[in-house]
Symmetry: D2
Subunit: 131 residues, 4 copies
Amino acid sequence: MTHTLELEVRDYECDIQGVVNNSVYQNYLEHARHKYLLDLGIDFAELARQSINLVVIRAELDYKSSLRPGEMFTIETRINRISKLKFAFEQKIITSEGKPAVNALIIGTAINERGRPFMPEFISDLLDNNA
Amino acid sequence: MTHTLELEVRDYECDIQGVVNNSVYQNYLEHARHKYLLDLGIDFAELARQSINLVVIRAELDYKSSLRPGEMFTIETRINRISKLKFAFEQKIITSEGKPAVNALIIGTAINERGRPFMPEFISDLLDNNA
Amino acid sequence: MTHTLELEVRDYECDIQGVVNNSVYQNYLEHARHKYLLDLGIDFAELARQSINLVVIRAELDYKSSLRPGEMFTIETRINRISKLKFAFEQKIITSEGKPAVNALIIGTAINERGRPFMPEFISDLLDNNA
Amino acid sequence: MTHTLELEVRDYECDIQGVVNNSVYQNYLEHARHKYLLDLGIDFAELARQSINLVVIRAELDYKSSLRPGEMFTIETRINRISKLKFAFEQKIITSEGKPAVNALIIGTAINERGRPFMPEFISDLLDNNA
C-alpha cells in the first residue's frame, strides 16, 4: 500500500536560494510518515506522551530537483518491516509535473521509556497487516 | 472581505510543551497573508525576485489557547490600508471548535531595492479595490 | 538587570528576501528568555517535563531593520513582574553596528497541569529578587 | 583538515519527544558546512546572490543518540573532492560527553544560473588546497 499526501510549498520554507531548504524536506517527509501511521491507527504524538518514542535511526535522501514557492507536490510513502525491531519507509516527493524532487529511505525503530529499542505488539501487528 | 485558510498542525511544529511553538504561529499567519495576497494577484515570492520586498514592521499577537498535534484550524485574514505607505492585516487563528487560538495585528509596508518604504501603484490599487 | 546574549545569523534562518524571516526573531527572543531564566535558576525544559508550562500570552514586536546571513547580533532581555500572575520581558535585538533590529515586549505567565494560570512561589521569588 | 564548531541546543529546536527534531540536525550540519566554507573564503549567501548555488544532492544521516534541551555539542566537518563536479562533506555531531549523536555524509555540487552543475575554478582551487 502506498500512502499519498498532497502539500503546497509555503514561502517561509524557502531560503536565500529561493527554493525549499534541504532540512524542510525532512519536515515534509516526517509529516507524511505521521499521517500514514495515523491512518494505520498509530498516533506518534500520543505515543510520545506515553514515553513510547518512534525514532529515525538512518535517513538517506537524494535531492533530485528543488521545490519553489507556491508549488504543489505529492509525498508517496510505503512502509516495510526490515527486521524484528526496525521498519523502513520508502518515500518520494514528486512535483506537480510528475518529476522526482526527493527520494528518501528512512529507517526507524521504537524506543521505550528506558531508551531501549523495542517493538510494541500493536505496532508490529499494524505494520504487518498494512504494509 | 475576509480570506479564510484551513490548515492542520504538523507534529514537528510542536515543542517540548507538546503544543505548537509560539514562533510557528507567525509562520501560519505569514502563509495565510501570502495566500490572500496571491488571491489578490500579488505574488510575494515574485516581488522578492524583483527586489520589491513586502515587510512586516510591527506584529501584535495575543495567544489565547494552544494548538495541539494533528489539530485542524482556520486562519481568517482581513487587510486594511492604514496610511499612504502602510497596510494592516487583522488575523485570527481559530480552533476547529471555534475557539480563538491567536489574534494578531500585522502592520506592513513595501520596501524598494534601495531599502526605502514605498507603495507600488499596482499593489495600492489591488488593496484599495479588494480590502 | 539586563541579560545579554550574542548570536550569529545562520543562513538557513534567512528567507527568499535574503534576510532573517520574521518568525525566526521569535526563536531568537525565546532562546534569550530561556537562557536568562536558566541564569536565574528556572529551567523551562525541566518545568515542561513537570507539566509546569511557562507560556507567552502576548507578544509585541517592532521590526526596525533586517538581519542578514552571517551577521552577529545581541539580544538584551529584562524581566519585570507586572501582576500577581504575569511577567513581562522587554527585549531588544541589536545589530553589531548598534542599530535596533527588533524591539519586543513579551508578556507571559505560568500554567499548571490543569491548564490554569498560576505562579509557583519559587519562580515568583526568583523574579522578585533578580528583576 | 577538520573544521570544528561548538553549538548549544535551543529549546525551540526540540519537539514533543523532548529531544532535537530530526530535521534540525540538517540545520546544524548546514550551518557547520557554511561556516567551514566561509573559513575557506567561500560565502554561500554571497554566491546565492550571484546565482551560483551550492546544493546538496545526497544526504546520509545516521542518528546515534538524541540531543536534549540546553546540551552543548560539537560538529566536526571534513570536505573531500569526489569527482570533477562533486564534493563530499563528512560530518559528525558529538555530544559534550564525546558520544556520537549524528554521523553524516553530505554530497554536493554547484549549480549555475541556468540550473546546470558546474564547478567554478575558485571553488575548485580552494577545495583542492584546503581539503
